[in-house]
Amino acid sequence: MRRFFEIIVEKILLASGTITSIAILMIIIFLFRQGAGLFDSPVVEEGYSLVVNKTNPVDHLTPKEIKNIFDEEIINWGQVGGTNQDIIVFRLGDITKYVSEDELGDDFQFVPEAISRIISENPAMIGFVPSPYIEDGFQGKILDLGNIKVSDYFLGEEWFPTAQPAPLFGIKPLVMGTLWVSIAAILFALPFGIAVAIFMAELASPRVRNLLKPIIELLAGIPSVVYGFFGLIVIVPLIQKLFDLPVGETGLAGAIILAIMALPTIISVAEDSIRTVPLSTKEASLALGASHMQTIFRVTIPYCISGIMAAIVLGIGRAIGETMAVLMVTGNSAVIPTTLLEPVRTIPATIAAELGEAPNGGAHYEALFMLGVILFIITLIISTTVELISAKQYKQNM
């Protein structure tokens, strides 16, 4: 009877392990699938067309050129391969400058005809109009600009997801921002965390340890918004004053907050694993003549290295994925950072701030899911690297 019971429990445990692994895999596949359609989306915002006069020789424009034309930074067709004419920009709202509202009809039924006429009368014009207003018999040329290119996405340097007519999805500033903030946070948190864990497990008196442990576990429970608020009100002005910067919202503020948030996790898990080292092992080392310090670094730590690795991976995960606190203190400006003392925009903050309003299934939505995939890959790479380096060092010393 008991044997039967044990088999059932074994099967249940196997099932839950399998289901968990499959669930994790499915989440990753879901992320990939949601993001995959991005490179099938048109460059010009969906539902709209870019039109020019029939005589205009220009056939192709990059998204960056389109943005600069509509921002009036490029003002002459000669700069983009056309004839020497000043560009006239036309948006749907401008139609009342050329045609009176009565001529457009009560139900806007004459709008397509008006647009067609305006384009054909202005050879230097480029128009951004909703596609339903381009009917057969349109007197201009519709620019077919293809789909969003892979190189534009991965190597592009500007992130303007709501720009009209052509949104720019360059993720380089976001990835660089994430890497700068996360790696700085890890560099702050890891040495501190492991050091405090070793102190608490091995060197502190029982009274100090019993005081510190609940305080640190309390810190782990504070919600991240509170950390963000603390960062915005205390740390940001401090950094601004200390480094004499024009603005205190910088990558450094984000890194410090992330380090503070990752510390309790690292300390708790590492300390617990160091405490599991059996007394006999430590005593054997001391008996052979090693000092306390030598015992700690040559015997205890290598013994529980897998526990410390778990602590490190958890801490890294917390540092890279933390959204709310970073959103409030880093300034969220999408420029490629050259130092830690500049505002940066991280991937979790971007996804959190923009996913709510991205139309379901649109190009922006898919771009954000691809960002999620990239974030997952970055976390994977950093965790694996840290594990490999540390494990190798300690295996060598053993």
């Binding site: 709209y48 909703p130 915005l232 940001v236 002005p237 603005v247 923009e354 309003e357």
Partner: protein, 272 residues
């Protein structure tokens, strides 16, 4: 033990029952304090009514209307053409009701000696062409530009009205909420940002704006009501036409004298 379980079960069912009949308003963080107060007053007047109000940004509200997860989308900008198209593709006609007006105040740090700016200067500052306060008559300080995130109706309205549809510069600092903009501007000497009139407080200084280069008008209730202050926008409720029966009582309340009084108390401008 059993009694406690039973009691909590009944409580859950009661709440769910209320929630099933609830009206949901979702969208702009600018309209949020107004919608919350109106919902509260409405529920006090009608004990059977239940209204939930959430923020997230105008874009979030309209997305929710598209997905069918809200009854009313509150926005601080007009619905975009492609959003209207998407709704029409799903067979939903959307109805717009203006419930209040709002003035956008441009704010700087109180220590900044600038008191007024023209629209062209503002456009230059926010698109990155003007980078130092001395170029507009202030002290020699780098201009630190604060904005809202792209999901915000305030962001879109400012882009349309002040920047004439040009894009903000890439190095603008995007804050997730109006409160964060106020906090950051109040503690950074070279800062400039924009917030709804209702959020102004003593920690920041509002500038007088001119669109024609001659008349500088400061943001206040009177100036917004008589439209002499140029940066004024409508606040709207959008709902799908088939939901009209469900949302009409609430919207009628908001547009009534009592509802419009609440609008004034919160700091917005009532509809004539």
């Amino acid at each position: 033990m059993n009694m406690k379980n039973l009691l909590s079960l009944f409580l859950c069912l009661f709440i769910v029952n209320q929630a099933l009949d609830a009206q949901k308003i979702k969208g702009s963080d600018t309209v949020l304090p107004l919608a919350q107060k109106e919902a509260e007053n409405y529920m006090n007047k009608n004990s059977s009514a239940y209204v939930t109000v959430t923020g997230g940004g105008s874009g979030v509200g309209i997305s929710a209307l598209l997905d069918g997860t809200t009854d009313i989308a509150m926005t601080s900008r007009e619905i975009k053409f492609d959003e209207k198209l998407k709704l029409r593709e799903k067979g939903k006609t959307v109805v717009e009701k203006i419930i209040a007006w709002d003035a956008l105040a441009v704010i700087v740090n109180p220590s900044n000696r600038i008191t007024k700016l023209t629209r062209e200067q503002l456009e230059g500052i926010f698109t990155g062409k003007i980078t130092n306060w001395k170029e507009v008559g202030g002290s020699d300080m780098k201009i630190v530009v604060y904005s809202r995130e792209t999901s915000s109706g305030t962001y879109e309205f400012f882009k349309e009205s002040v920047l004439l549809n040009k894009n903000y510069m890439a190095s603008v600092l995007s804050m997730p909420a109006t409160g964060a903009v106020i906090q950051s501007v109040s503690q950074t000497p070279g800062a400039i940002g924009y917030v709804g009139l209702a959020y102004l407080n003593g920690n920041v200084k509002a500038l007088s704006i001119s669109y024609d280069g001659d008349n500088y008008v400061e943001p206040s209730y009177e100036n917004a009501k008589n439209r002499s202050y140029p940066v004024v926008r409508p606040l709207m409720f959008y709902y799908v036409k088939t939901d009209e029966q469900k949302v009409k009582p609430l919207i009628d309340y908001v547009l009534s004298a009592e509802g419009q009084n609440t609008v004034k108390n919160i700091g917005y401008i009532d509809v004539n």
